[in-house]
């Protein structure tokens, strides 16, 4: 790859030809704010936050979509650039349902008066993203205090039709990350854009409500939303109520995938937060029993292995192997003809929930109404699964748990850690094939050889639903050459 020489803010850099200005800046630790750009998606250049001055260009250029050229002279933080970015933010915020900007509690809308740490603790303004919002943090970075325009926040109705995944169009800044993730990556195409100008909205296709849309509840739109426009329903009050309730045994399972985000939220060193510390925090606020994810995973995987071995004996192949709630919805919706190839084994949340209710509670003599299960996980599909199937009583993600901890005065930095509870023997770990898969935004599925039941099989791993669609279409066209397809939605 050829290198080109560019100048950013007066310094010269050698960068790879063909990369964007934003990439070049990031590689050299120069900060450029972004709002719509997201690694893994094609740049849309909608938000105009990442604009920079490029010598010789009549207008400011979006750095996310402008490729470097040899000899380019770039200003990323000039007076003009900063003024334009701030004004863009003012325009967004003047039309945004900004619960967070004007603080009713301290009676000020000046950024300097608002203490971010205090905001995270305060629940007065009632936005799920308060303290975690990309728009909010940019508004603070650029000191957006007084709006120069009349406040005209959007006033649409929230779409709560699914009960778990909620869409609040009034917080939407039309960056369209959700549209692209839903359409390009997951190939579900639930979300689209309707109307134009200021009436433009991101909506489920044809203006339907989410429950009437093809949504498979993977919750990836929630993962990528920079604001609180799509979010998982929160249950802070319910959680704390049950934790404190006399006579109810609360059991929580903690997924490993919440550690990273909780570390960030609590400003801890990477790798310094163990499940045991989270368990300590949970016990402090009244959760009776805490197990790690391994518990549910082991039960689920043994079940999966059993089903898989049985299925592999049948003649029709490949076997589609998944424990993902959204992937199961996806197959039911788009590949009904392949349903008899599917081995749906329980997710760790489902395995945990049913073990506690069906085995643990009866054994301990606890009445079903006196046992309360909580799953702490960052996969949003689990929230939808808990809501729709009742696999556990509550599913809570890292951000929500953080807010619960703040409200109850638990600082994970100060927790020493307690040993996890042992609720029974989950048995031996299953084969490697069942190892955890992480969702990503790549377009190509991975393939590996695995040994299953003493035979070598070809396994294709779909790390998102777009990859799954590609593989399942191959199965339909009889061009898939493998024995197993694993899908993570």
């Amino acid at each position: 790859m050829k290198n080109v020489q560019i100048m950013i803010n007066g310094n010269t850099y050698q960068v790879t030809e063909g990369i964007t200005i934003l990439q070049a800046a990031r590689d050299n630790e120069i900060h450029i704010p972004t709002l719509c750009s997201l690694e893994g998606l094609d740049p849309r250049a909608n938000c105009r936050m990442c604009v920079v001055e490029v010598e010789g260009m009549r207008t400011l250029q979006p750095s996310c979509a402008t490729k470097v050229k040899d000899g380019m002279v770039i200003q990323t933080d000039s007076e003009l650039v900063r003024r334009n970015r701030k004004h863009t933010l003012e325009l967004i915020l003047s039309s945004h349902a900004v619960d967070c900007h004007h603080c009713l509690r301290i009676g000020s809308s000046k950024c300097a008066d608002l203490d971010p740490v205090f905001c995270e603790m305060c629940f007065f303004c009632d936005c799920v993203k308060d303290g975690f919002c990309e728009l909010q943090s940019l508004a603070r970075e650029y000191g957006v205090d007084v709006m120069p325009y009349e406040m005209h926040p959007y006033d649409f109705e929230e779409d709560t039709s699914l009960g778990s995944l909620i869409r609040n169009p009034n917080k939407c800044i039309k960056c369209r990350r959700c549209v692209d993730v839903c359409g390009e990556i997951q190939t579900v195409h639930t979300l689209s854009v309707e109307n134009r100008g200021r009436e433009m909205q991101v909506v489920p296709a044809l203006g339907a409500q989410l429950k009437d849309s093809p949504c498979v509840r993977c919750g990836r739109c929630v993962t990528v939303c920079p604001t609180g426009a799509v979010y998982m329903k929160e249950h802070k009050d319910e959680f704390i109520y049950h934790a404190h309730k006399y006579g109810v045994t609360t059991v929580a399972q903690i997924s490993n995938n919440v550690c990273g985000e909780l570390e960030k939220l609590f400003h801890m060193e990477p790798g310094s937060l163990q499940i045991e510390k989270i368990a300590d925090g949970l016990k402090k606020i009244g959760i009776d029993l805490v197990v790690g994810e391994d518990f549910g995973v082991k039960i689920a995987q043994q079940k999966g292995q059993e089903l898989l071995e049985k299925k592999l004996k049948t003649t029709r192949q490949p076997v589609i192997l998944t424990s993902s709630f959204a992937a199961q919805n996806f197959i039911r919706q788009y590949f009904k003809e392949l349903e008899d190839l599917v081995v749906s084994y329980p997710s760790s949340q489902q395995a945990f929930g049913s073990y506690i209710r069906e085995i643990y509670a009866p054994k301990q003599g606890i009445f079903p109404e006196n046992i309360y299960t909580v799953s702490i996980t960052n996969d949003n599909e689990n929230g939808a699964d808990a809501h729709e199937n009742g696999s556990v009583d509550l599913a809570v993600n890292a951000r929500e748990l953080y807010r619960i901890f703040l409200r109850t005065g638990v600082d994970l930095k100060n927790r020493k850690g307690v040993e996890l509870d042992v609720l029974g023997d989950a048995g031996d770990p299953a084969m490697l094939l069942f190892d955890a898969m992480e969702w990503n935004m790549e377009r190509e599925p991975q393939r590996r050889e695995e040994s299953v039941c003493n035979q070598t099989v070809q396994v294709a791993y779909a790390h998102n639903l777009g990859q799954a669609r590609m593989l399942l279409e191959q199965v339909n066209a009889a061009s898939f050459d493998g024995q197993i397809i694993r899908i993570q939605a």
Partner: protein, 411 residues
């Protein structure tokens, strides 16, 4: 005194637009014959260098340069697209051409298709122009029947009422059946246009001029009008002027001359206040600034733009803030909503200008408008947003008293 010289409108009013025989009898399709006997490279050279034909849609880009770009781009599939999405307020020259002489547009398109090696051409016509669409479709059938198309398929596509689709990348996106939103440039359409293939996008007037350039030669064409922008340009007169209508004049004509002698002066004997050439996205000229040639570069030098050739004449009974409020509402309505500065900015500009139109303007409003105009000119994604406040900036400079008048009225 300025005289009309008709090139694009040469047959208008003289022939029956619905009869191909009439067009052929008037010498039509001879340029196409001639072009097809010329080497494509030579043909493009005529348009590019000798003819110096520049786009009549508004940007004034060298037509031949587009053609040679698409010609030399790799790939077997190439497209010609005629931009007939005439949406600029006050512009109706393309409709006049299409409804009076559709075959000259087809002939121009076919010459271009031959030059770049395209087998497919699209005319993207403004949806409201139902009559133009009907006439064009009929003309395409006639040309196919008579064998002039030689296997080149021409499709007439109806737009759906969006102004931004007149911007070429948006037009192509819309033509592909997607939501009408601009694309990132580069890549430019000549390299990656319709369906990602090399595509030439030209305006109706440009295509209508092509047959004459080919037939009468580059030398003849170059001798008409201004040296750097040769030929003729159609001006669509509207507003407070005695004779409204289309007038085709050499590009070295004088604007004042056109207004007084072809336009017949300001209607009702009132005094001229301002002229806006090029449409709503262009600057104003004061009454004492209009003694200038109308070619592309002279207009630029005068701080205005030729644009599409729309000429809006305003007499002294108007306050500019009323006109600006109308323009702002137009852009607010037409913004596609893709980028923040345009989506929210056009809305805010209209909101603030309404204050002035109601006589309730404030000093802070004036300052905010200036800031907003700077943001939009710098940060918007496509030319729609970038030029949505051009007229506003121009009026702020030329007619500040109109704003003050509306501020005092409210006090």
């Amino acid at each position: 005194m300025v005289q009309e010289v008709r090139i694009a409108l040469r047959n208008a009013g003289k022939i029956n637009p619905e009869s191909i025989e009439d067009y052929v009898a008037a010498g039509g399709y001879q340029a196409l014959e001639k072009a097809r006997q010329t080497n494509p490279e030579v043909l493009i050279e005529i348009i590019e260098n000798a003819g110096k034909l520049r786009g009549r849609g508004g940007a004034g880009f060298n037509t031949g340069l587009k053609w040679s770009g698409a010609y030399s781009a790799s790939g077997n599939i190439k497209y010609v697209v005629c931009n007939a999405d005439e949406g600029e307020p006050g512009t109706y020259k393309d409709r006049t051409i299409m409804e009076n002489d559709p075959h000259t547009v087809l002939e121009g398109i076919l010459i271009c298709a031959y030059a770049i090696g395209a087998k497919e051409a699209y005319i993207y016509c403004r949806g409201e122009y139902e009559n133009s669409i009907r006439i064009l479709r009929q003309a395409v059938c006639q040309a196919e029947e008579k064998g002039y198309t030689e296997g080149v398929r021409i499709h007439v596509y109806s737009g759906a009422g969006s102004y931004v689709c007149g911007e070429e990348t948006t037009l192509l996106t819309s033509l592909e059946g997607k939501r009408g939103e601009p694309r990132l440039k580069p890549p430019f359409p000549t390299v990656s246009g319709l369906y990602g293939k090399p595509t030439v996008v030209n305006n109706v007037e440009t295509f209508a001029t092509v047959p004459v350039v080919v037939e009468k030669g580059a030398g003849w064409f170059g001798s008409i009008g201004a040296a750097k922008y040769p030929g003729t340009k159609i001006f669509a007169l509207s507003g407070d002027i005695t004779n409204t209508g289309c007038f085709e004049v050499p590009t070295d004509s004088n604007l004042k001359d056109i207004l007084e002698n072809l336009g017949g002066g300001v209607k009702g004997g009132r005094k001229l206040k301002a002229v806006q050439v090029g449409g709503s996205s262009c600057e104003f000229l004061k009454a004492d600034q209009i003694d200038i040639p109308v070619d592309f570069d002279s207009m630029r030098n005068a701080g205005a733009a030729l644009g599409s050739g729309a000429v809006l004449v305003m007499d002294d009974s108007h306050n500019m803030t009323d006109i600006l409020a109308d323009i702002a509402h137009f852009f607010e309505h037409e913004s596609c909503g893709k980028c923040v500065p345009c989506r929210e900015g056009t809305y805010r500009a209209a909101q603030i200008l309404d204050h002035f139109a109601e006589g309730k303007g404030k000093n802070e409003d004036l300052e905010q408008l200036k800031k907003l105009a700077e943001l939009m000119a710098n940060s918007c994604f496509c030319p729609l947003g970038q030029s949505a406040t051009t007229a506003l900036m121009s009026a702020l400079k030329l007619f500040p008293e109109d704003f003050y008048e509306r501020m005092e009225a409210g006090k």
